[in-house]
């Protein structure tokens, strides 16, 4: 028991590692600030594309969405980070991570927005158009507000996944929270810094996880 506490909950090591983890947390938050808005914007475009009337837009968009839902995010990250330099493209870890997550998240957010838009009855669009609103105005003022409200729980739960996914950036040595904790782990030969990182993620995300569960009640998840 003592060994387990020494190995996982060593307070001295946690205190010593805290400043490093705080720097890492800053990078994680910065990454979220870049990746969440980009993913939402890309997802909205993907949703509109996969509902487009022209099949030249619709089919490639659906393929894009399914393709990036099929590739594991870590494979995508390593491909971009380690593969592209072979083709002569040198990019920073941060750029590689942002590009990878943009592609992955757009696909996931896209599916959610599509379900939301489809949940708004077509009569709404017809009614809006008949009052003289243009197609863009109808989308912005009538369809999207209702669509977003209908899929808010899914948007929230996907955003939690996005924040958790930023931990993969540690694999391509971007100095975010998990990377900082793992550096501290390898210096101290002790898992406590990673346990501390887990606690930080827990504190950060737990309220939202609770909220998702609350939404799920009676909605069939």
């Amino acid at each position: 028991m003592d060994r387990i506490i020494q190995q996982f909950f060593n307070v001295e090591i946690m205190i010593a590692a805290w400043p490093m983890l705080l720097d890492g947390l800053g990078v994680t938050l910065l990454l979220c600030l870049a990746v969440i808005p980009l993913g939402l914007a890309g997802g909205l475009l993907a949703a509109l594309g996969s509902l487009a009337r022209s099949r030249w837009v619709r089919l490639p968009t659906i393929f894009f969405v399914d393709f990036f839902r099929a590739v594991p995010p870590l494979v995508l990250l390593i491909f971009i980070y380690a593969g592209l330099p072979f083709a002569g493209l040198r990019i920073s870890p941060f750029t590689a991570v942002v590009i990878g997550f943009f592609l992955n998240n757009s696909a996931y957010y896209g599916e959610i927005f599509r379900a939301g838009i489809q949940s708004v009855g077509f009569g709404q669009t017809e009614a809006a158009r008949s009052t003289g609103l243009t197609a863009t105005q109808t989308l912005a003022h009538v369809v999207l507000p209702q669509a977003v409200r209908n899929v808010l729980p899914d948007l929230l739960s996907n955003t939690i996944e996005v924040v958790k996914l930023t931990s993969l950036a540690s694999v391509v040595s971007l100095g975010e929270l998990l990377h900082a904790a793992d550096m501290a782990r390898s210096v101290t030969y002790n898992a406590s810094p990673i346990v501390l990182a887990a606690l930080v993620y827990l504190i950060l995300l737990w309220p939202f996880v609770r909220l998702v569960s609350r939404f799920g009640r009676g909605l069939g998840a």
Partner: protein
């Protein structure tokens, strides 16, 4: 070499591909085997936990909620690193394959529990009352009336979650599980060529694209949409 030839040589080099395809195929076996184990154990445990929770024992329900919340809030890679690097120093030695299996199965169990529980609570109360009034016991009502409906409602989100978590078997690379991605990154560093990574990406798409399309179909087929 023209640009195009250089591109082909970098990402589709036939000699490199021929040399490392067997290793990557071995990785496919590891990935598929792990995925099957994770899905069976994770969904099995998740359904069991949701059933236990429906009995309403306060202490058990509290423990299940805490477990599900923690597993859903902490990134899987963090859990994998804690277990893999922490336990040996505490005197417990587990293979990387086993660590990956246990962590991902527990994460899937947490999500499955929440999905099935949401299903159980969304079954109308009248269904319970009707079942009990015909003389079924609590356990029978749960097993024959409520749970089948809860599971049916849960099929689309469960499928999506199972796909998302089996894709995470690629995280095993970090702790040295010889899966597809691990074989590919090893081959890439030995050959100094990106073709193995390209092959790995193609293999993942070939494995998961049918599942993604299946989940799309299930969503249309099984969703009981309320207007």
């Amino acid at each position: 070499m023209t640009q195009w030839e250089r591109f082909l040589d970098t990402f589709f080099n036939a000699a490199v591909l021929a040399k490392y395809t067997p290793a990557i195929l071995q990785g496919v076996w590891v990935t598929v085997w792990l995925s099957v184990l994770i899905v069976l154990a994770g969904i099995g445990l998740g359904v069991a936990l949701a059933v236990i929770r429906s009995f309403g024992w306060r202490l058990a329900s509290f423990a299940i909620v805490v477990f599900a919340d923690v597993m859903r809030a902490v990134p899987p890679l963090v859990l994998i690193l804690i277990v893999f690097f922490g336990l040996p120093n505490a005197g417990i030695f587990l293979s990387s394959f086993f660590v990956l299996f246990v962590v991902l199965a527990l994460v899937l169990a947490a999500f499955a529990e929440e999905i099935v529980w949401a299903g159980i609570t969304s079954v109308d109360k009248g269904q319970w009352e009707a079942a009990r009034s015909t003389g079924l016991g609590f356990g029978q009502s749960l097993a024959f009336v409520v749970l089948p409906q809860a599971l049916r409602m849960g099929i689309p989100p469960l499928t999506n979650r199972a796909i998302a978590i089996t894709k995470m078997t690629a995280l095993g690379t970090v702790i040295g599980v010889p899966d597809i991605l691990n074989q590919a990154t090893t081959a890439q560093s030995f050959s100094g060529n990106a073709s193995p990574l390209m092959l790995a990406a193609v293999v993942y798409v070939a494995l998961f694209l049918p599942l993604v399309i299946l989940s799309r179909w299930l969503e249309n087929r099984f969703a009981w949409r309320k207007a």
